[in-house]
Amino acid sequence: MQRLEQLSLAALRTTAQGAVTDRAVVAQRLYRFGTMPRTAAAERDLGPEDDPLGVLGLCAGGVARRRLDRDYVPTVIAGWCAFTRLPLDTAAVTTCKLYVSPRPDAVGEAFHRLVDVFAETGVRSFKVGRGIEGLLRPDKIVAYFDDTAHLDVVARALAARLRRTPAQGTPFTCPIDGDGLLSWGIDPPPGRAPASWRAWITRYLADALVSRAHETPARRVAGALADLAAAGVDGATWLPGAATFDLEIAA
């Protein structure tokens, strides 16, 4: 079993042990599973507010910022710093996304290399988590692609350039390498809610767990996995099937 598959099952099993029956809370626990603890050392070393931008080399004079300034326009959105390649391609449609998940103590070095790869391979847009919490979350770097062929090219280049980078791992995503540093996913079609794959799958799993609130944790997990299979989601790769997104999820 690959590491991300183990991590995803650990998320499900741990959450199933909880006594909470609020779907939103359960979904949030699943979604945030794999987030590194915010410790006094992290506070001290990464710094508050937007100081972690310096760790990424995104401050004035930083290596990553100088590289990105040549090809990308930055935007700050809630919880994220996003970068879009120039010239803007307004007709592009995202069909898949790449997750890059280095551990927080490796994210600075990894980000420098990643920026080079993204620029060289023409990645259209990507985002990186903002603030301490942005760097502690597992899905801290997400890149968007129009087709899986391009994603494959970029992933191969990254795998070579980030060979010894320690991985954190993004649960509920499809592994590309063995340790979970790189993974990918497919978002629901436009107009569906939730809009992102991880938000969709964790809401779906939360429904499955909460609907079995009075069963044992083991039975809750087994039931959730059975529901998942019925929805066409592959439990090993965490990729959706052809009809997966036709399912309605309770708000």
Partner: protein
């Protein structure tokens, strides 16, 4: 600095519209942490774009300063203030006069109608030519000078530093800087390309130095938990100043904003406007200035005594460089830097240097010894030269990293910790207590493990909702999850639950609340707890586990407290020994809690459950 004598009896003063008066509670957490915990009723006054240090003022002085929102003579403003606050005008002016003068000198209060009333604007536009430079962007605009990035006639990227019109003192500073840069000829500093006066404005043209501020380079090393990189940076910083001193120059303004680190790790010193020769005759130097945190004790003592600063020396600058390195390595100034300038100066003169561990930073004994010598209060006790300091620093390599490991504990302790963590995961729920949640949280922190963190959150589901301990752990777990809203709710629940308890339990709850506030003073949960502690009747008590003198694990906590207070490694060894002896009489959760504390001794975290 005021150009001509100002007669305050006839000159109306005004608080400029751009001057910001911010209450301490309105400041960002980072700034509040720097200001301190006991000044919530104070305010900070600052002006964007002015070369002034933000001033911290008590509430009455703020109210008086606000009287200058409309142009007023000092006497008129004082009279209005005294009437409004039922005070004697004479007493008010006696108490406030020195502070008002300081604000005038800092150009926070300025003469009505003067140029200082307005925010400095960029005087050059992109594409404009000045002194042979095509201006590209404004890098920094201050009230007395501007720095632009541009390109010279040879196509080189350059920095153009120019004084503002009507600021003759800047011409002096730039002239001094030009002389130093010419002498250094690009060694460890930007290469000077041109200097002079154009359109009545003094200017310098220097090579543009690409790089990040030294504070960012240090932050990158700290974030990577790479003390080797931090050590290399510290040595390069010290060597940069050592080379400068060898060339007969003192920088004169040591602070993190005046060092850049290039991509290859080279350290470049910038801004030589306050440079001095190393061989100046002893005496006073009224123009000597700088950032107070980096003043050496002799300068601090002179300023405290109301005397002019002494002449800068190599030993004084060695102190400043050591203070800078201490800041880069730990994020802390060597002496706690209170916002009150006089208190800071007193600290620089008298306060001893504290070991890293007593300030929540992992120990680094060899480096601490070198910094302690360079930071000696008496100049002769420091290293003879900055080169000697740099060499000693180079030898102070970081201790080999010994990550926490269950295998390092004795077998009995290891078994207890393992058993506790296994119990914590028991899906049958029989062992689900707040103690297990706390241990799971500590395991998450010690092992940097997100799975244990999720486990801690889930374990709390089954903890009793009417027990303050549940919510004390809840605050810590929510904090570790970066969940500010949940942290605040847990803090409110803790205060509610503890409100109706017997005195002993309230004391324990207060101790837990104090530990939480101490760990992260300015989180939303800490705000709630601080407010509650302010009204709680319980006596101060730190720690909520066992009480000293009860044997067993009590000795572990006593030894740890001693280690955190003194940094004495023998206390940590005592804690470890006591932990090994304690096992037979203690519950697994308590042993696990003590073990986690020994593994992470910089983090004060007593468990909110009985540990003996």
């Amino acid at each position: 600095m005021i150009g001509a004598p100002l007669d305050l009896t006839v000159t109306p003063l005004v608080l400029p519209p751009d001057a910001k008066v911010l209450r301490v509670r309105e400041l960002a957490p980072r700034l509040r942490a720097r200001v301190g915990e006991d000044v919530d009723d104070h305010a900070v006054v600052t002006r964007p774009g002015f070369r002034i240090t933000a001033r911290l003022m008590p509430a009455p002085l703020v109210a008086l300063v606000e009287e200058f929102r409309r142009p007023s003579l000092v006497t008129d403003a004082v009279a209005r203030f005294a009437t409004a606050h039922a005070q004697s005008p004479d007493d008010t002016i006696d108490l406030a006069f020195d502070a008002l003068i300081t604000l005038v000198e800092a150009r926070i209060l300025v003469p009505d109608g003067s140029d200082d009333l307005h925010v400095p604007e960029a005087t050059l536009a992109a594409g404009q030519a000045f002194a042979g430079v095509e201006v590209a962007t404004l890098v920094r605009g201050l009230d007395d000078s501007e720095v632009y990035r541009g390109r010279d006639d040879d196509g080189r990227d350059v920095a153009l530093k120019i004084g503002r019109a009507g600021r003759p003192e800047v011409a002096l500073t730039l002239g001094r800087e030009a002389n130093v840069l010419e002498a250094l000829d690009g060694r460890g500093a930007p290469r000077l390309r041109a200097a002079g006066v154009e359109d009545g404005r003094a200017f310098l043209v220097m090579d543009w130095c690409e790089g990040v501020p030294v504070a960012v380079a240090a932050q990158q090393a700290r974030a990577a938990r790479d003390r080797g990189a931090l050590h290399r940076l510290a040595v390069r910083v010290a060597e940069a100043y050592a080379r400068l001193h060898d060339r007969g120059v003192l920088h004169g303004d040591v602070h993190p904003g005046n060092l850049l680190v290039r991509d290859d790790g080279t350290v470049v010193l910038i801004d030589f406007g306050n440079a001095r020769p190393v061989d100046a005759a002893p005496g006073i130097d009224p123009a000597r200035t700088g950032i107070p945190q980096f003043f050496d004790p002799a300068m601090a003592a002179a300023l405290l005594a109301g005397e002019p600063p002494p002449v800068a020396t190599v030993a004084a600058e060695q102190y400043a460089v050591a203070a800078l390195i201490h800041l880069l390595v730990t994020t802390l100034a060597p002496i706690d830097a209170p916002a009150d300038r006089q208190a800071l100066l007193r600290g620089l003169v008298a306060d001893p240097l504290r070991p890293f561990v007593t300030r929540g930073v992992p120990a680094w004994p060899s480096l601490e010894r070198v910094l302690a010598r360079a930071l000696e209060k008496d100049a002769p006790a420091r290293f003879a030269t900055t080169a000697d300091f740099a060499a000693a620093l180079a030898a102070a390599r970081p201790p080999s990293r010994r990550g926490p490991s269950l295998a390092r504990a004795s077998s009995r302790v290891r078994d207890a910790v393992s058993a506790t963590l296994v119990e914590a995961c028991d899906p049958r729920g029989e062992a689900r207590t707040v103690a297990h949640a706390w241990c799971a949280l500590q395991a998450a922190i010690v092992f940097d493990d997100p799975v244990w963190l999720a486990q801690a959150e889930v374990l709390l589901d089954s903890a009793p909702a009417d027990d303050w301990r549940t919510h004390a752990v809840g605050v810590a777990v929510a904090r570790a999850r970066s969940d500010a809203a949940r942290e605040r709710r847990a803090a409110e629940a803790l205060a509610r639950c503890a409100g109706g308890l017997a005195a002993d339990d309230v004391a324990a709850a207060c101790g837990a609340a104090r530990d939480l506030v101490h760990a992260l003073p300015f989180s939303s949960g800490s705000d709630v707890l601080r407010e509650w502690l302010g009204g709680a009747a319980a006596p101060p008590a730190r720690g909520t586990g066992d009480q000293p003198g009860r044997g067993g694990l009590a000795r572990v906590w006593e030894s740890l407290e001693r280690y955190r207070a003194t940094g004495d490694p023998r206390a940590l060894i005592s804690a470890t020994r006591a932990l090994r002896r304690a096992r037979p009489r203690a519950a697994n959760a308590a042993v696990a809690a003590a073990w986690f504390a020994v593994q992470q001794p910089e983090t004060p975290a007593r468990p909110p459950f009985a540990a003996s």
